[in-house]
Amino acid sequence: MSVVAFLMLCAAALLGVALLAMAASHARAATALVYGASLAICIVGTALSIAALTGRAGAATRLILPLGVPWIGAHFAIDSLSAFFLAVVNIGGAAASLYGLGYGTHEDEPHRVLPFFPAFLAGMNLVVLADDAFSYLLSWEFMSLASWALVIAHHRDAENRRAGFVYLIMASVGTLALLLAFGLLAGPDGHYDFEAIRLGARAPLTSALVLVLVLIGAGSKAGLVPLHAWLPLAHPAAPSHVSALMSGVMTKVAIYAFIRIVFDLAGALPWWSGALLLAVGSLSAVLGVLQALMQDDTKRLLACSTIENIGIIFIGLGLALAFRADGVAAAAALAMTAALLHVLNHSFFKSLLFFGAGAVLTATGDRNMDRLGGLIHRMPVTSFLFLAGCMAISALPPLNGFVSEWLTFQAVLQSPDLPQWALKVMVPAAGGLLALAAALAGAAFVKTFGITFLGRPRSTEAANAKEVDRFSLSAMTLLALLCLIAGIVPGFIMDAVAPITRNLAGAALPLQSKLPWLTIVPSFESGSSYNGLLIFLFIAFSSLLAVWAIHRFASHAIRRAPAWDCGFPDPSPATQYSGSGFAQPIRRVFLTRTPATREQLSMPAPGDMRAARFTLTIADPLWDWLYQPFVSAVEIAALQLNKLQFLTIRRYLSLVFLSLVSLLLVLAIWS
């Protein structure tokens, strides 16, 4: 049997687990059974996809099942691109299942989570495996619906119901856009098989239209600005391990959809498509991280930071598209490698951080960091692992986030030789915005870690928190280790994605793993190099040297005493900085005089004993400008159409007659 067949069996097994869970979700052992089975299947899936990616699987890579539309059948296939994304999906799925073994036991209504969790995993696997438009869209919709069911798992909370509603609408709009894109790709003859679509010739205008439609369809699922508004609502609403899957993995499936259609199926695209991606990507990066900085809810902050990271990935993809259109294959390969590496890295650290937020939620029952604090004393292991995730996502060496951002910067620096003036202006601007986003991400995660884990507890729940179970901790440890490994030996991953860039960008980076000391050198002409392993060793060596020298030659006396605080320590934990207080300087620098923030201060007159009140509202202006008009339009249209419900049968018949005649008329004029 070929590797595709095995992977399809994995997906089928996940669906089987889902059915089983539906039948037996009230059983006591259901939680352990479902997550255990998902874990086992995902591990097999990871092994298979890595084997396929490194070329150790057999040659037969296609599978045609007699399902779906009768004369088409369902095609499934695996190539290097889908193998890479399958690895991302299954590693994330394995980690989430492992975490779920512990976290899932705290679930109040497990029957609302258990059946959908494996179904969601199966859906993501199937999207990546699908090789014709029909099964692709079917799996995509299945994935969306399964995740929707998980978003409204805690449906008694009105906010979650609203999030589920918004998500459902956005998912439908996205699928509609993808449907239209496939319709355009298939052309008048209707080739739904990817192989046939690849061979078909189409006008440049059609390709451009496909690009825009895919940007709406896949971009809305990935959370690109301006289609991001659902993401900070929906991702945090789900249980934490599902949030991790949605943010860390499902957005990557959307990226897969984008790469598959735009780079693989749509054929050659003009240079401005790269410029469009750059603009959307850099806007997402900066707006996403600014929005993240303003959040006080840890899970929502993490969801907003996903928008930023998706933006970084799209900057890489945009550069790759622009380079490819201008025939600079080596630079296109570099940009694409950077984007793919960031896909993998983001799936690691975002899942890790959501797991950490879930652990805090389990331990304290609270997501608002302004009611937490001091958790480092109560939850030492969680806090250490969460810190590793914060460092990775803030792009600090020697962890993995830095490597992919470094590669993206290197790709930016390759672009002055692009001939188009629009790109010459846009690329440095995008590079600057990327740098800004990276710095702001550092601030956002100092805030997250500092307010939640450091300082003094701000509530009794935080003061009495307990460390979480071993399953959750081992899932987080696994991901933190992956962050470190991907950070110090990125050369192996870069080599693994080389076949993808060779297929889609027309070139590959030079072989990295043979370079001395596992250095990475994206191109030999520039000679820029980075070595995560050595940096890691240097930091370890010099800090240990400093510790040793100090403890050998200097004093090691230590005394515990009350905090100094310039002589006026205040016992109330409310005197510490709060989350919004921490972000206030940055808010004042970047967001004053924008409609995004409204501050209201009511200060009592002198002598008045009333307490002063300060209210801060942070809105997403895009919500008012873009979504609200759309929603109102839909409502008005619905009201008008509502009148059609109360007609007499005669009128209905005449309506049917009229529409038939007009449709036939259109057909007659058309042909």
């Binding site: 470094w406 440095p428 590079g431 550092g442 400093a546 200097a554 940055i586």
Partner: protein, 318 residues
Amino acid sequence: MELISALLVQLMQMMLVLWAAPLLTGFVRKVKARLQRRQGPPILQPYRDILRLLKKEVVVANNASWIFRVAPYLIFAATWVAAALVPTFAKGLLFSWSADLIAIIALLASARFFLALAGMDIGTAFGGIGSSREMMIASLAEPAMLLVVFTMALVARSTQLSAVADLLASSGVGLRVSLGLAMVGLIIVAIAENGRIPVDNPATHLELTMVHEAMVLEYSGRHLAMIELAAAVKLLLYVSLIGCIFVPWTLAAPGGSTASHLAGFGAYIAKLALFGFLLAVFETAIAKMRVFRLPDFVGGALMLGLLGTLLLFASRSL
């Protein structure tokens, strides 16, 4: 043999950085004091301070966590590693290929990350104010620095510091508008990152104007010594960086004679003295800014960096 001599130069360089950093700080303080018609502490005072701090016991707040105790060493290590990657008196450092300019910036960002966390660990208002303002300044200074690096990297076609220094030392480059913009930008970033006037006052103990000092308020003894030493090394790093990029002619070539290394060393000390003197004059001549005027100042560096990069995207020869 070549490896041993290269290793020797690398080790000497690392020790030189440690040795010279407090000296530079002391020198700047002395010049500032003389400019203000004060006697000022002796130039060697920073060494004495650090040695005395090392001998004292550490007083740690009751609710300090392990972050508070680990951070000084990590801050010091990250800063020291970054400084070891910047050529001071000789080019061709043994490990210079292991990290480029972007990685050096990121190492400094790691140090800042831990310093900001350490400031928030005790849970005092001062620690929070320092961390929050430090991250605000960094959110502008770091992208500015990266754009300055882009400018230099586009000229040299490499982000490797040794390649940049090599190219700028050769006669092929000459005077360039973009490099001029980059220099001004880099100097502004250096002032902001090191917490010098007008961004922050290293000598202040007036609480509401503190940024760096507020974060380290709770530190004492050997921990404080490590942080002070790291701050001195960071100042030296920026001075070396400016010297290595914009005055690269005095760097000794790899494998050069002992005499050339000695000459490079002398020139390096001269560079430190010159930049230290200029810094002291600048700090004496200017007043501290209000915190919310800083974005204009540091944002200026960001714009200069962007302008330099844009110019080079327009034409490689600008």
